[in-house]
Symmetry: D2
Subunit: 383 residues, 4 copies
C-alpha cells in the first residue's frame, strides 16, 4: 500500500487539498499520512488543526516551524526550520510519495526535504503566475517535482514549457473548486447569525448588501502593508457599506497589515466593520455567494470567485498575471480607485459561473494518479 504524505501548513492550503485528502483516505491502495504544521497549528491563526481533526483526519505528525517575526529574515529562518523538522518527520513516516500544495514557505521546506531524501514529489497548483516571492517558489517547486497537478490548462502548458515531461503533467483542476462546487450544490445555507458570535465587531444583516475585505502582504513590497490595507479600509469606509474584514496570512509583512487593521479598528469610527481571524471555506463561499463585492488581493476572488460569480475588485500586484474571469476588476492601492471600482461592481451585480479552475473532481483524479503513477526519481530537463 502506497503511503502518501501531505503537509498542510495553513488554512488556505488545507482548503486547497482537502478533497484530495479525502480521496486518498478513501482508496484502499493508498495510506494517507497527514502532517500539520506552521500556522495551521497556531491559535492566533485559528487553530486549523482542530478543523482538520473535526473533518475526520488524524494527523501523523505536528510540526512547529514558524520563527516569530514575520520579517523577510524570519521567513527564511522558518523555511530552514521547517526543512530541518520535516526531514525528521519523513525519516519517521517513510512515505512513498510526498504531495505538496501551492507556493508557500512550508511548500518549499516540504519540497526540499523530500528532494534531498529521494522521495518522489507531487505538486498541486504549479505553473500558475502570480506576484511576490510565491512566483519563484512555485516554479522552483515544479523543477523539483516528479508529478504535476496543475489546476488549469495555461498552467499545465507552462509546466511543460519549463522542461518537464508531458507524461508527468496531469491536468486535474483545483481541489478547492471541489469544495466550492459541493457548497454551491448544497446551496441555501445561511452562514450567520451564529457567525457573528465569533470575531470582533457588531452583528449585521447578511440579507442587505455587504462587502468582504481580504488583503495579504506582498513580500516584495515589504514595509508597505500598513499603508496598503489602510487605503482599502478607507475606501470601504467611504462607501458606507457593512464589511467583513479578514486578518492576513502568516507571511513576511503580515504584522504590517495586521497593525494597519488594528489601528483602523481602534481609531476609526466604523461600526459596520466586523473582523474575523479566518473562515472555513464553507463559510467563505457562502459569504461570497451573497456578497455585493469582494475586495483585496486574495486569490479566492479570482479562483473560487470565478466559479461562484461574485463581483471582485483586485487591488495591487499580488495576483498579477493570474488567469481570471469576467468577475474581476483590477486597481492600484489608492482609495479613490478602489471605491470607484467597487461602485462599478455594485452596479453590475453578480456574474455567471466560469469553471476555469476545475469542475469539482480534482481530488479523485489526484488520488487515482498517486495510486497508479510510476514516478522517475532522477529528473532530467527535456531540452
Amino acid at each position: 500500500m502506497r503511503k502518501i504524505c501531505v503537509v498542510v501548513g495553513s488554512r488556505a492550503n488545507y482548503s486547497s487539498i482537502k478533497s484530495a485528502l479525502a480521496a486518498i483516505k478513501a482508496r484502499p491502495d493508498l495510506e494517507l499520512q497527514l502532517v500539520v504544521g506552521a500556522s495551521a497549528l497556531l491559535d492566533r491563526y485559528g487553530s486549523v488543526v482542530n478543523v482538520i481533526k473535526k473533518d475526520g483526519f488524524s494527523p501523523s505528525a505536528s510540526v512547529y516551524m514558524l520563527v516569530e517575526g514575520e520579517t523577510p529574515t524570519t521567513m527564511a529562518k522558518s523555511t530552514g526550520l521547517g526543512l530541518m523538522e520535516l526531514s525528521s518527520v519523513f525519516d519517521n513516516l517513510k512515505p512513498d510519495i510526498v504531495l505538496t500544495v501551492g507556493d508557500r514557505f512550508e511548500t518549499m521546506a516540504t519540497t526540499l526535504a523530500a528532494a534531498y531524501m529521494n522521495i518522489p514529489l507531487a505538486h498541486t497548483m504549479g505553473g500558475e503566475v502570480s506576484g511576490t516571492i510565491d512566483e519563484s517558489i512555485r516554479h522552483a517547486v515544479t523543477k523539483f517535482s516528479h508529478i504535476h497537478f496543475p489546476a488549469c490548462q495555461d498552467a499545465a502548458d507552462r509546466i511543460v514549457r519549463m522542461g518537464e515531461r508531458r507524461e508527468d503533467v496531469f491536468l486535474v483542476g483545483c481541489p478547492r473548486i471541489d469544495l466550492v462546487a459541493e457548497i454551491v450544490r448544497n446551496d441555501g445555507k445561511d452562514p450567520g447569525p451564529e457567525l457573528f458570535k465569533e470575531g470582533v465587531g457588531g452583528t449585521f444583516d447578511l440579507a442587505k448588501p455587504f462587502v468582504i475585505v481580504s488583503q495579504h502582504p506582498v513580500t516584495t513590497e515589504y514595509g508597505e502593508g500598513e499603508r496598503q490595507i489602510n487605503e482599502t479600509l478607507k475606501a470601504v469606509q467611504e462607501l458606507g457599506l457593512p464589511a467583513i474584514v479578514l486578518w492576513p496570512n502568516a507571511d513576511a509583512g503580515s504584522e504590517d497589515v495586521a497593525r494597519g487593521i488594528r489601528k483602523f479598528r481602534e481609531h476609526e469610527d466604523a461600526a459596520q466593520f466586523h473582523y474575523f481571524k479566518n473562515f472555513p471555506l464553507e463559510t467563505y463561499v457562502r459569504l461570497m455567494a451573497r456578497a455585493a463585492c469582494v475586495i483585496g488581493n486574495s486569490s479566492a476572488s479570482i479562483r473560487e470567485g470565478a466559479y461562484v460569480g461574485v463581483p471582485a475588485v483586485n487591488v495591487g500586484s499580488r495576483q498579477q498575471g493570474r488567469q481570471r474571469g469576467k468577475n474581476v476588476i483590477d486597481v492600484d492601492h489608492q482609495r479613490g480607485a478602489i471605491a470607484e471600482a467597487v461602485n462599478k461592481q455594485l452596479e453590475h451585480g453578480r456574474y455567471p459561473p466560469e469553471p476555469i479552475y476545475g469542475d469539482g473532481k480534482a481530488g479523485e483524479r489526484i488520488a487515482k494518479v498517486l495510486a497508479e503513477c510510476r514516478p522517475q526519481l532522477q529528473k532530467r530537463i527535456t531540452y
Copy 2:
C-alpha cells in the same frame, strides 16, 4: 558602491568562482563580501578557508552548516541549517546582490536566504544538465535568480527556454576555465615532488604514465557508493598503473565512497596508489596536463578536461547529459568496462584543446555585469 556577497562552501566552488572574486575585488565600484561555509571550513575537507586567505581574500563571515552524517536526511538538515545561518549573515552584511555558484546544497541555502530577504540573486553555471539531485537544485536556483551567468551556449539557451528573460542571461563562460587558462599559459611547472609529502602513500614518478581517480557519490543512488568506487579502484589496480586517488566531496553518500577507499587502502596491496584529500586547482590542472587518463565521475574531466585535452573515462550516471568534448569515453560501474576504456584512452593519447566552457575571461565579465546591471526584483515567467 555595490556590495556583492558570494558564499563559497567547498573547494570545488571556490575554484569555480575565484577569478570572479578577484575581478569583483579589483573593481572600484564593487565591494566584495566573501562568506566561507560548509565543507570549506573543515579540516577534514582540507581547510579550503586557509587557501582562500592565502590568496588574499578576507572572509566577512564563516558559516558552519554541515550536520554530520552525510545521509539524505542530514543533507536536508544541512540545507535548513545553512538557510537559518545565512539569513543572519545577510542581515548583517546587507548585500546589494548575492552571487551563488553551481548546484550544491549550500547553493540552495544561499538562494533561499537571498530570495526571502528580497536581495537580487546572480547565479553561475545555471542551465547545464547533470544527474543526481544537483539537476533539480540547479534549475530551481535558476527560477529564483535575477541574473544568470551560464558557462556555455547550450546552458544559456536552456535558461531562456525555462522562462527567464533573455536580457537577464549573460553568456560569460566558466570562471574555472579562467584559472585553467592561466595555468596552461604559465605551463611547465612540475606539481611534484613536494606534492607527495602530502597525502598518504608512496612517492611516484610523474614523468612515467599515471592515472587520476576522482569519484563522488550519486545522491539518487544512495548506498551504492562503496561498491561503485570499488569497481573503479579494482579496474585501476588490474591495469597496474600508478594512481592518484582523491577523497570524495561532502555530500549524501560521501561516507560510503570514503569507506570504500579506506577498505581498499587497508586490505589491498596497491603500493602504486597515493591518496589525497584535495588539490588546489593549479595542482589538479598540472596533473591533468600530464596524466595518461582521468577516471571517475568528476565534472573536471569534462569541463577543464576539454580545455586541457586530457583523455578521460567517465563512470556512471553523475555527468549524464553534460555537454562534453572528444576527450571523454563513458562507461558503467563495471571494472571490466572501466579497464577497457582506460586502455583505449592510453592508446589514443592526448587530445587537442576544446574551449567549450569558456575562453578565460569569465570573471571579468561577471564583475562588469554585477556593477552595471539593474536587476528586476519581482520575477515573472516570460510565458
Copy 3:
C-alpha cells in the same frame, strides 16, 4: 577595553538590567555590546527594541529566536534556536564577558552559548527561589556562571551553598530597583490621561481607586492558564473596581492566558477594564504608586512592590518561596479567595517602603565589578 555583551530578550529583562546597561556604557574602560532578541523584537509584545533605542542604546545585533506556538515543545525549540543564533552572534562580537539576566529561556540559551564558547559569564538575579521551570533554569545558570550578582542577601547565601566561590558572589541589589528608586524620587508625575489612548478599553480616572492585574502562565501547570486568569478576572469583576489588565509574557502557556483574557473581554460586560500589552517600568511604578491593589502572579508586586509599598494579592504557585515584604497576601486560584484578599488590602491601604531588593545603586556596582574582576574560566565546585 573590556567588551561586555548583554542579551535582552523581553520587556521584563530590559527593566531588570537597564541601569546596569547605562552604567556599563558610561564607563570608559568598558564597551557595551547589546543584543536584543526573542519577544523584545516583536510587535505583538510591544516592540521593546524601540524603547531601548529611544533610551539611547544601539543594539549590536538582533536575534529572532521564538518558535511560534508557546507550547512546552516550542519553548524547548526556541531555546535551541536561540543557542544556535547566539553562538553566531558571540562569534562576531567576541565579547570578553557575557552578562545574562534572570531565568528565562533566552537566559538559558545565552548561558550555554557563552559557556561552550569559553566566554566568562556573569549573572544577575541568581539564587532566588520561585516556582515553574524558572527555578531550575536559574540555578542551572548559576552553575555555569563565573560572576554572580544576586539581588538580596538570601540569594547570595544560597549561591555560595550551591558550591560557588564566595569571592565570585557580589551582593549588588537588583538593577530594577535602581529605576524604581529614581521614579519614586521624581515622583508626582501622572501616568495618564495620555495612557488610555493606548491599549483597548475605556478611559478611567486614576484619582479614584483602581487595581492592576498581571498574571502569567505557570509552565509546570501548562493547560491551566485560561482557567486561572478567568478566576482572577471574575474576582475583579465582582469587586466592581476599575482594572488595568496586562497581557502575559511570551512563555509556554501564554496563549492560554491570552485566550482567557480575550474571551473575557469579548463575552463579559466589563466596561471598567482596560487592556494593555505592556508598560514601560516608569508607567508601571507610577501606577503601582497609585493603585489600590496589584493582583496576579507577577514578581513586580513582590520586588518593586516592596519598595513602592503597594498592597498586593499574589495568586497561585508562581512566586512561591520568593522573599517578600509585608505588602503581600498569598491566595489560591479561586475567585472567592482572591476577592476576599483584595478586600482586606483595600481596607489596609498602602504600606511603608521595604528596600529588600536593593538601594538603587545596583547598576553602578555591577559595572565596576565587570571592569575589575578577573574571572576564572575553569569552574570547580567548592566541596
Copy 4:
C-alpha cells in the same frame, strides 16, 4: 507501564548506561524507549548504533545533531540542534521519565528538552568533579533533574549539598562497572589477534608489555590539543613500548587531537603503534587487564581502572578533582614527566581492585527506582 526514554549519544555513554538499559528492558513494568544520536550514529566514530542493535536493543529514534566543525561555536550549535530535534522526539514518544547520562553536550540537550516539556528527568553520574565544561554541564543537569543516580558516596553527598532533596538521591554505583565486573568474572578471553585486523598499524603480541594511550581535548584549553597529544605520543615513543592509540571523542578540539595523531603517524617512525577508532568496552577492559600502563586523560583509567587495578598515568587537567584509587599517577603535559611516571608504573606492576565506583549492580537498582519512584515535577531548592 512506564515509558523510560534514554538518549545515548556516544560510545562512552553507551557503556555507561548499557546495564541499566538491559535492566529496564527486562522489567515488565517498564518500557524502554532508546534514542540514539550524535556521534553514536556516525561512521567515523565507529557506528556505535550497530553495536547497540547487535546487543539486542531496538532504537525508537535516531537523532543527527552534530554540526560539523568541533569548534566551541559548533559545540554550542550542536547542543541547540540537539535540543530542537529531541523535543520533537519526546513529543512523539511521550515518555514518562527521561534518563540522561553524564555530562556531554547531548546530555545538556536531552536535559533541556525534558525540562521544558515537563517530563521528569533522571540523571546518572551526577555530583562528580572534573575539569572542562563538563564540570558545569554536570552540575547544571543536577539542578534540572528530579531523580539522581550518583556513582559514588562523594558525589551523592555533593548533590544533596547543592540543594537537592535527599530522598531524590539514589546511590546506585556506576552502570559501567556492572559491565567491567561481568567481564572480569568471565576473564581469560584474549582480545586479539582478531583485534589487529581492525585499525591501522602492525600486529603486536599482547603477551608482551604494551601501553594504551587515550587522550581527549580539554574544551577550556581549546587549541592546545595537538601539542598535548604530541607530548604524550613522543613520551611513549621514547619508552619504546608497543602502544595502542585511540582516536578522541567528538568534542570541541577533537580535530586538534586527531590532527596531532595523524601527523605523528605520518611523519614518525613508530611501527610499534596501532591506531583504533574505538573499542567495545569488553575489549577495552580486557586490554586494561593486560596493559602495563594506561596513559592519557580518559576517565576510564580512573573509574574502570580502579576496579581492574591497571597502572595509570593521568595527564593534564581533564580529570582533576575526580575521586581516584591508588592506581593513578598524575602528571602535566610534558613528555619527560609522562615518561618518568610511566616508568614508575612499569616498575610497580598491577594494583589490587578498588570498587570505588560500584559493585556491579547499578543497572538493576536504577531500573527498580525508575519503576517505583514518584518524581515531584516542580523542583524547589532545599534551602
